[in-house]
Amino acid sequence: MDVLFQIIASGLTLGAVYAISTVGLALVFGAMSMLNMSHGALMALGGYMAWFTLTGLGLPPALGVLVAVGVCAAVGALIYLLIARPMLGAEGFETRIFIATIGFGAVMESAILMAFGPQPKPQPLAVQGGIGLGGVHLPVQNLLILGLSMALMLALGLFLQKSRIGMAIRATAQNRDAARLMGVRIGGVYALVLAISGGLAAISGITVSSLSSLLPNMGGDPMLKAFIICVVAGLGRVPGSVVAALFIGLFEAAVQYTIGVRFSFALLLLLVIVVLIWKPQGVFGRHQGVRL
């Protein structure tokens, strides 16, 4: 019974970490059908910025996180200005932006490697200690991540539902041309969406590195998993991807406890393939009629 609780506890933490990344990716794909392959590098950048501001500059933690989020959001907007905008609406946008962001991510990762070196660094934002609940050990860090993630998701959901800008983002995602006719400045929405996604990547990078450690290529694996979750949920489905993230986190924790850490990614992939054969649009995805 204790094992079950332990699995649920660590599974929910994993899921919460994934959810932060996944929502950022889903938001960008929903608004502009763009798969941002430099998300992993943005996560690493966020983690390293937090390390740099706290250890290097000695700023208080809250300010450090703010700087990290700000820098990554700025880089996200930069991706829009330099890479996405010149090819918007051109033939094969989805393929080209995919390849271009792979290249941009590689550049960023190498730059981080050169600036901070290849040795793993500890994330200073980690909180020590834990709570014993019956036979289950719950690290404070994990509870913090879970709470933070849920608060962020709630705030993002409210922002998308209630604010005018959130409405513009949803309108763009639903129908780009109609939104433009209603006076939505599409370019601004795209830049904003990428900036939000960048900021979320920073927080995600900080949480991921607080559970393990900082490495220049630390974002690669979580990014692929976040994409897998996006695909399971249906690309671009924001609320669905949160549910899917928690589910995948639980699945991964269960596999790690029962079969072994080594196979968790492979089994995850197998699950995705089964889901995609069963529902090619994802579990929460709507079937979109393609007009030829």
Binding site: F98, I102, A106, A111, P280
Partner: protein
Amino acid sequence: MTAMRRDLLLCGLFAAAALAWPMVSGLRYSVTQTTFFFIWATVVVQWNLVFGISGIFSLAQVALFAIGAYVTAMLGYYLGTSMLLAMPAGAVVAVIASIALGLACLRLYGPYVALLTLCVSQVLYVLIVNDTDCFTHPPAGCMPLMGGVRGFSRFGDLGFRDWLGSGFYIGNYYVGLALLTAAILFSILIIHSPMGLAFRALRDNPVYAAARGVDRFRYQLWIFGLSAFFTGLAGAFYAVNTGVVGPVVFSFPHLLFLLSMIVVGGVGTVWGPVIGAVVLMVADELMRELGDFRDIGMGLILVGCVVLMPKGLSGLFQSLSARLAGPAASAAEKAK
């Protein structure tokens, strides 16, 4: 002259020039680097069939290459199979893997296919690297089934060492040249075959093509399987040529390097990937001195090409030659 004749002629000229290269260049380094160029060009020419011609955004080509390499190395290492047998075996296994993968992911579209294929190669990488259980115990210690982090070495070669002595690399060079020439010929034949025509029809007017009985899924599966043969063979030859196969062949930077070749050269043309392979090999060579900046340079080349010239270098040549031919053609019109 039809387009196919022109391409075949170019292929012949290329092969003839490459035949003479080891005699012209006395440097061993340039010959071995050209051998690597043959291998990478073979992979991207086949990848181009999948990505450019049939429009499947698959990133699995590098994994298929690695499967070819690993099967060859493992057959040689565990069973002592002759490389002449192990290489085709590696290619056949790559074809089987490709068809299985195609059945799983060809019902999806665009970015879903890219993600799924990327994940498959990443999972293979993780499974190999994290495998620490000993399968056999060679004198050097412990050997996991798939070679683990260190990979395989000393699994055999094509016998050029006994035959040519220290000049064995020239033998490998000609095998590589034969491989690339066969791969280009295969690509030309596919592009100008009814299958190529079917893909062009599907691209130009999907509804009409479907109404005339052109089954996209079937043709895509065919090309997925066919292109895997030379990709796997290139992997097998890579294993034989370098004598070492490690998980690095699955790695992401490797994929990035090959993807850049296609993008820089031009997606969907016969010669674009070959040009791209030349350009990136040269760029890689020039940036060797730069150390850490090399990876940044590679990434910047890729981003710059995708953003600034979506049709790659071959598209640039085409529009340039069209512009040069433009005034001449209109002058000829006036003279009439």
